[in-house]
Assembly symmetry: C2
Homo-oligomer: 471 residues x 2
């Protein structure tokens, strides 16, 4: 698909003289070629598609030389050191860490064991902010529910003093929809179970795979609910537990989920490509540097920080852009958007030309949305035209999203949203399996190509490097 | 493929009168239909293909109600109790356990941690018969090799006191070839490393997947080599270690592989469909009841015992066969063919009409080999013709294999070999991921259909049940 997309572009180049290409106006209807795109933009895009190595180099380095980097831990601090060295070596300006303090939840020993009627071990991982069972664990009878709604509807007496199990059937979808609805067992389940007096809760992992790897993720005890131990069983184990429960005998589990909360520090790593006109608002491109602790944070979000920085670097290589591009590798996203909120407090009232974030793996981008405002409709359309040859459809003009940038977009700052194919994202999300081997280098390049084209348009007016002009 | 296979059979049935079907002679060449098959055999085969539930019922029950059943442990003893109850309930005769004593290796706590230059945890599992590190573990510099040959060729000085890492690139193949050659790091690696004075050895798991699940498996320290700790890293971790080693800095690992060896008991579970003529040699059909401890032993070898018993049960349901069918669920296969050897000592000198074992998952059978001797060539050919509509090709007439039955086949006993598609077998083999959800019920039925047809032919002369005759 990506190979095929290249040929209409070559047709454009041969059919139309360079002098005609000053704007992104469409060709007349009788010429059946791609919509017209600024040749500089097309060239930057196609060079990235053909051979970007920057993004792979970043994600390979970060996942190999740091590995997991749980928010607020010394591993995340090593990741910041690594990031500063890397971004400096790549030639970015104003490379800096903007630190902030935060509470740090971290896991200890974990196990789940069915004691009766069919003794066996299961694979479990605590959810972020789970209460700790202590080293002895807790032992209780399992009471199972098909959904959080079923748990909510149950009389407290049925739940009190027991270990709640919540099942669900999250489907895999291209757009990742399902994570909202089917994520409820993780997000709301622990609070509902706690308020009903449950001893602990285990959920079917919020994921779409069938491997013995649990999916962790954050949850918060709300409405004054007392923290209880809360874990996720791997999906094969959750299905096993359903089969065991269906036998109709009382099921007893011993659950050990040790964890602790300490005070720690995280920080955002920021690097810039300075624009020719520093008075103009910057373009923020980012991802998050922290990861869950089970995998090495390759697709969540090693590729995100890699794509953002690679695209900015490609613009920098091509010359000095008109507008400053600010690369932000947010800290502590996974555990509650700490980095995004810190940036927002510090810079959120200042104008930004656009915000863009990559945090959904590195499979092919298939859609571009934007929220640049009516006055910039033609800019938004030009982005759509530049991305079409990569197999990307244009979506809405009044929408953009992103995790860390979400609150600022809600505040009214403009943004662009590049939607990646999420069909297999939740096979890997927050599991030990989020490792480098899961990244498809060709699809990663398509991401960088799309981002580069978007940045080329937004940062418009790239100035050729002086060295090149002298030739 | 399996659906399409049914229609030529229907054609045979409508084209040819039942009276013509007494033997398995091919139709005349001008009629373009499948080779002729005994209609009773075809009917038994097709009924299994359309709706066998016996095999699923067995493997679902065994993996759910017992789970893992490591050889010689109380879990394997519970599996034998389960098996006796199940086989008795299914109506088999002479259901019994034939016990034997054996040494039992079992694992304790395990971890692998890179201390320098890039601190991170890795996923590891001890290989069966690994030496124990004790609770403190061992710490040493890693020395890496691409193969056991490279390790063998290395000077002892390079290896002494270090933790050896052996990489390899096992390919996935339909026939499972590759496990022999590429299994060398597990089988020979620990002995070679020990004899060179290594502190411990970790290998890239012998497998073809990319999940954070290590593949365990048995190895034996030979030639007087002193046991050292020996583990398998998951494949993503092994690839990570290669990337870390390629950075060129000294790599230090702390390895904890606790294990112990005790005395225990295993046993073979045996059940029979008595033949009309008890003086005739029995047909042995089997699989192994024990499993590795990491998964629930679904494809290795829950499906094997299920397929063998389901096919025998289908013959039993159809009437009393001429020859006795002996179902053997071998104990302690994984750790050294203890059950197969025990059976061989007890019964191996007695004539058997054929030996068949299923121990390669439950994906589609694609080939049938046999070793029934020249005098029984037409019987072997009839088997091939009966299986062809299931998409099964006929292979050799002088070959058959199986794990527990291997030594008896080598002794000269006759046998049939039904080769399953092993393309994804080594994704799961000996890992935590060997669970029920990996079984494709349609392919499992194809296995039972093929086995039923083979048993129908071998046990020839099925007598209609009296109850049926009275109707």
């Amino acid at each position: 698909m990506q190979q095929a997309a290249a040929s209409p572009l070559s047709m454009v180049r041969s059919l139309v003289a360079a002098a005609l290409l000053a704007t992104a106006a469409p060709l007349s209807a009788q010429v059946h070629v791609s919509p017209l795109v600024d040749p500089k933009v097309a060239e930057l895009r196609d060079k990235a598609m053909d051979g970007d190595n920057y993004a792979w180099d970043i994600v390979e380095g970060l996942t190999t030389e740091v590995g997991q980097r749980l928010a607020g831990t010394e591993a995340e601090a090593r990741a910041r050191d690594w990031a500063v060295r890397k971004l400096t070596a790549m030639g970015f300006s104003n490379v800096r860490v903007e630190p902030f303090d935060m509470p740090v939840w971290s896991r200890g020993h974990e196990s789940a064991e069915i004691l009766a009627p069919f003794p066996q071990h299961m694979v479990v991982a605590a959810l972020g902010n789970s209460g700790s069972t202590g080293p002895e664990g807790v032992t209780g009878e399992i009471v199972g529910f098909d959904s959080v709604d079923a748990l909510s509807a149950a009389p407290d007496d049925l739940v009190r003093g027991k270990i709640v199990f919540v099942d669900h059937r999250m489907p895999a979808n291209q757009d990742g929809s399902g994570y909202g609805e089917f994520g409820a067992p993780r997000r709301q389940g622990p609070t509902v179970a706690s308020k009903k007096g449950a001893l602990a809760i285990v959920i079917r992992s919020i994921g779409t795979d069938h491997h013995r790897n649990p999916h962790t993720g954050v949850m918060v005890f709300s409405d004054g609910a007392k923290p209880i131990p809360a874990g996720a069983l791997s999906i094969p184990d959750a299905e096993q537990l359903v089969r065991i429960l269906k036998r109709g005998q009382p099921v007893t589990m011993r659950l050990v989920l040790q964890s602790r909360v300490t005070n720690g520090q995280s920080g955002n790593v920021i690097a810039e490509v300075p624009g020719r006109d520093p008075s103009l608002p910057p373009i923020l491109v980012g991802g998050h540097l922290d990861s869950w602790d089970l995998g090495t944070g390759a697709i969540d979000d090693g590729t995100g920080v890699a794509i953002a920085a690679a695209a900015a670097k490609r613009i920098m290589d091509a010359g000095r852009p008109l507008r400053t591009i600010r690369v932000v590798w947010f800290g502590a996203e996974e555990v509650g958007l700490f980095g995004g909120n810190h940036y927002r407090e510090k810079y959120g009232k200042q104008p930004h030309y656009a915000l863009i974030e990559s945090d959904f793996g590195a499979d092919k981008i298939w859609k571009v949305d934007s929220k640049l405002g009516d006055a910039r409709k033609s800019e938004a359309e030009a982005i759509g035209k530049a991305l079409a040859p990569l197999g990307i459809v244009t979506g809405k003009f009044d929408e953009a999203d992103g995790s860390d940038i979400g609150p600022m977009l809600a505040d009214g700052l403009p943004g662009v949203g590049l939607s990646q194919d999420g069909t297999r994202y939740f096979d890997l999300h927050h599991t030990p399996d989020d490792t480098l081997d899961k990244i498809d280098p060709a699809q990663l390049r398509q991401n960088v190509a799309a981002w580069t084209a978007v940045l080329a348009i937004l940062s418009s007016g790239i100035e050729e490097p002086k060295a090149k002009k002298r030739r």
